[in-house]
């Protein structure tokens, strides 16, 4: 299958890529990892007249720890994050990177590309919205920092101007006693999850001081499950609070019936994943090493 013919432009720097976008106009798209864009182009759902390739810009792939935060270059591949000991300082980030699609896709796909695409089924936004994360956007006009909740404005829509690019993603390392977990249910590895849940808990002893819960793939964005969070806040993580949170998450989910399952089925998945993710996050918050893995049907 062939995409519509397009003009290819190889950017040598972010500034040059921004200038290219400004000159080429609306018909231009950025090519990062290409693992979503190229399949869409082959199916002719996306038909850009110009592609600006970011893969030849050096220095856009890195994972650094600085001033209590992790900084990811926009072109850092999921596989690099999966294998990084620095990234593993925030275990939910490892959960996310290691569970995206399959080895080959993780070797190409990038964190910046995933966030900029803002596909509601993408994993990164769901996970990073449970943390204190921001996106740095750059253009020939300058650089600005956008908190992630303001960056993603709608399904497939971000706050980026046409000539702006993601340069890096900054995630604060949660304090001691705070930990998260991310779990998805997938029909097979290469496909998007049928449902996913990201949980971040802040524990004080046995009491949950704060909780952030985001539901992925069951709405037009990563749904914030406010009532599920309230069901945990100020309480110990027990069978009772777990069930209350799972029931609230089930109610907050807004899934569509599609080839991955009926809406009811996905709500049931959300409840089960919420429970398991809370349990894993609570154990991690106590300092336990807990390895989690997505469930594959």
């Amino acid at each position: 299958m062939y995409p519509r013919a397009f003009h290819y432009h190889r950017a040598g720097s972010l500034a040059e890529a921004s200038t290219m976008l400004a000159q080429l106009g609306d018909e231009a798209k950025l090519l990062a990892g290409g693992q979503s864009l190229i399949p869409l182009m082959k199916l002719r759902f996306a038909n850009p007249a110009h592609l600006v390739d970011l893969n030849f810009i050096s220095g856009l792939s890195y994972i650094k720890e600085e001033s209590g935060a992790l900084r990811f270059g926009a072109m850092t591949r999921h596989a690099e994050i999966e294998q990084s000991a620095v990234a593993a300082k925030i275990p939910i980030i490892h959960d996310c990177a290691a569970g995206i699609a399959d080895v080959q896709i993780r070797n190409r796909g990038t964190i910046g590309g995933s966030l900029a695409e803002a596909d509601p089924s993408g994993d990164w936004a769901t996970v990073l919205l449970t943390l204190d994360a921001e996106v740095r956007a750059t253009s020939a006009r300058g650089t600005r920092t956008i908190p992630l909740p303001d960056f993603i404005t709608d399904a497939y829509t971000t706050a980026l101007a046409h000539d702006e690019l993601v340069s890096d993603v900054i995630v604060k390392i949660p304090p001691k006693g705070s930990a998260g977990a991310f779990l998805a249910f997938k029909r097979t590895a290469p496909v998007y999850p049928s449902a996913s849940v990201a949980v971040q808990l802040t524990m004080e002893g046995d009491i949950c001081k704060d909780a952030v819960i985001r539901l992925g793939c069951v709405g037009l964005g990563a749904i914030k499950a406010n009532d599920a969070e309230s069901a945990l806040r100020g309480k110990p993580i027990t069978g009772k609070s777990l069930i209350a949170a799972a029931d609230a998450a089930r109610a907050a989910a807004d899934p569509q019936t599609d080839m991955r399952g009926s809406a009811d089925y996905k709500r049931t998945l959300v409840a089960a994943l919420t429970k398991r993710a809370i349990e894993a996050a609570a154990r991690r918050a106590r300092g336990e090493q807990v390895e989690v893995t997505h469930t594959y049907a």
């Binding site: 299958m1 062939y2 995409p3 519509r4 013919a5 397009f6 003009h7 290819y8 018909e27 090519l31 290409g34 693992q35 190229i38 399949p39 182009m41 082959k42 199916l43 007249a49 110009h50 592609l51 390739d53 893969n55 030849f56 596989a79 294998q83 699609a101 399959d102 080895v103 080959q104 896709i105 070797n107 190409r108 097979t188 590895a189 290469p190 496909v191 594959y296």
Partner: protein, 161 residues
């Protein structure tokens, strides 16, 4: 439709041999390998980034060559299934797949061999889970995978020697 699409000159090293070609930007890497270089061991299965039959190593990293443009491989070193054997001798991974009956129709095999190569580069002593994760992006519709896992385990032994 943009008019007058310019071809782009690229050089790639495939299985140790250098090639210089001009390609249309939309030429997929897998088509470039199969049609322009006549290396037809790399297969096209689903052509939708799912099945992994088109897996090759690009600078040592396994990629689905149906999900990359050839122009993106400019300057890269590529290893395809044809590059595994040396001087008429099958690669230890290939031997293991033959000995363990790790294939039936063989259509997915080039991709699975390249994914096994990638796994052993990162995990020389793979667990059952490592093996399952390593070929999660390779679909086989014949074997049921059990002999593939046996072959991957044998491959790890063969490579260690």
């Amino acid at each position: 439709m943009p008019d007058a699409i310019e071809k782009i000159a690229i050089t790639v090293k495939v299985n140790g041999k250098a090639y210089a070609r001009s390609v249309e930007p939309r030429r997929l890497l897998v088509e470039f390998i199969r049609e322009d270089l006549d290396l037809t061991g790399t297969h096209i299965g689903c052509d939708t980034s799912y099945c992994g039959a088109c897996t090759v190593l690009l600078n040592g990293a396994s990629v689905k060559s149906c999900t990359m443009f050839a122009v993106q491989a400019d300057g890269a070193e590529i290893l395809t299934v044809e590059g595994l054997e040396k001087n008429g001798e099958l690669h230890p991974i290939q031997k293991a797949f033959g000995d363990s009956y790790g294939l039936q129709c063989g259509y997915c095999t080039p991709g699975i061999l390249m994914s096994t190569m990638q796994m052993l580069a990162r995990t020389p002593s793979p667990s059952e889970r490592d093996m399952r994760k390593a070929i999660a992006g390779n679909t086989c519709r014949c074997t049921g995978y059990q002999n593939v896992f046996k072959a991957m385990q044998a491959a790890a032994q063969n490579v260690k020697g």
